[in-house]
């Protein structure tokens, strides 16, 4: 199914406002509300005509205009079609619903997005930092991140 049809089915299911899309881009994407990602994800995975059972990639992005984004790249092993979803959330209170019940791989991807950007994933089984140490100051991949001068007594900058 082309992204256009996927967008239609989503609009039919979740209503017009919830799902707006930019279809002329190199890889068209669909914006979804951050507090409904799990319901939309479960629908995308279990709907017989869509069956997005393979989550290729979940990446956090800092759009540097006051909000953070989570980009989902989904793929269906059966129908062999792809879709890109985006969920934006404000930078000061970034909350996105976790999709780790729908796709098992989202567990670690979300922990990494939390570790790098500080995006809180609600209902995530164990949201801990995955790459940086637990007591590392700040979220490194944010655009306004300042490298700490010292960490545990070790000088960080060269």
């Amino acid at each position: 199914m082309t992204p256009q049809e996927i967008h239609e089915t989503l609009k039919g299911k979740f209503g017009e406002a919830a799902v707006e899309a930019k279809l002329d881009a190199l890889q068209p994407w669909i914006r979804i509300p951050p507090n409904k990602t799990r319901t939309i994800g479960a629908f995308l995975r279990d709907d017989p005509s869509l069956q997005f059972d393979f989550m290729m990639c979940l990446s956090g992005v800092d759009y540097n205009d006051g909000n953070l984004g989570v980009v989902y790249h989904l793929f269906s092993m059966i129908h062999k079609h792809k879709v890109v979803l985006r969920a934006n959330c404000p930078k000061d209170n970034p909350h996105v619903q976790s999709v780790s019940e729908v796709w098992g791989t989202a567990n670690w991807h979300e922990r990494e997005a939390f570790d790098m950007f500080g995006i809180q994933f609600d209902e995530h089984p164990d949201l801990r930092r995955i790459l940086c140490p637990d007591d590392y100051p700040g979220y490194p991949l944010r655009k306004d991140f300042k490298v700490p001068e010292f960490y545990n007594g070790m000088k960080v900058p060269y």
Binding site: P133, Y136, P140, V147, Y151, M154, V156, Y158
Partner: protein, 165 residues
């Protein structure tokens, strides 16, 4: 028979000094701690494989720090790993040596500028004896590093170290 009357052409095992004997024993059996961090670990594995055989120098990988003499820090030392390396170094038995292999552990390597999680050089955490340059250094460079360490061990003295000013 006058055995001690300048009968030997050159010094041999009978009239060597205790220091030479001990140093020779130590430098020809430097047990290496078996752990690699990053790309340099692959070159260290290639060095211990059949083509560059590091075991000719008596460097045998041992799993626990209790039975090792030399710790080859092969790869990037990150801040999370630095405390572990310090602990591993502490748990090694004296006399112990450290070879810092690769520019990542020498000075942070390609991650020196933006590496917010990279320790810029392992010598900020543990004392290093030999630095092996390269990214990753060739197995021959690691072998030369080990030979440099062996020369250093050969010159060690058992007498009390003179307190440098």
């Amino acid at each position: 028979m006058g055995l001690l009357d300048y009968k030997f052409e050159n010094s041999n095992v009978f009239i060597t000094s205790l220091e030479n004997l001990l140093n020779w024993a130590r430098l020809s059996s430097l047990f290496q701690m078996q752990f690699g961090l990053a790309c340099c670990a692959i070159e260290m594995m290639a060095a211990s494989a059949s083509n560059f055989d590091i075991m000719r120098f008596g460097v045998i990988p041992r799993a626990t720090p209790r039975q090792t003499d030399v710790m080859i820090v092969a790869g990037t030392v990150t801040l999370k790993m630095a405390s572990r390396i310090k602990r591993l170094y502490d748990q090694m038995a004296e006399p112990r040596y450290v070879i810092s292999m690769g520019s990542c552990s020498n000075c942070g390597g390609p991650y020196w500028e933006h590496g917010y999680h990279v320790l810029k050089g392992v010598d900020r955490v543990i004392p290093v004896d030999v630095y092996v340059p390269g990214c990753p250094p060739r197995p021959e460079a690691l072998l030369e590093g080990i030979m440099k360490l062996q020369e250093k061990v050969r010159k060690e003295s058992l007498a009390k170290k003179k307190q440098t000013a």
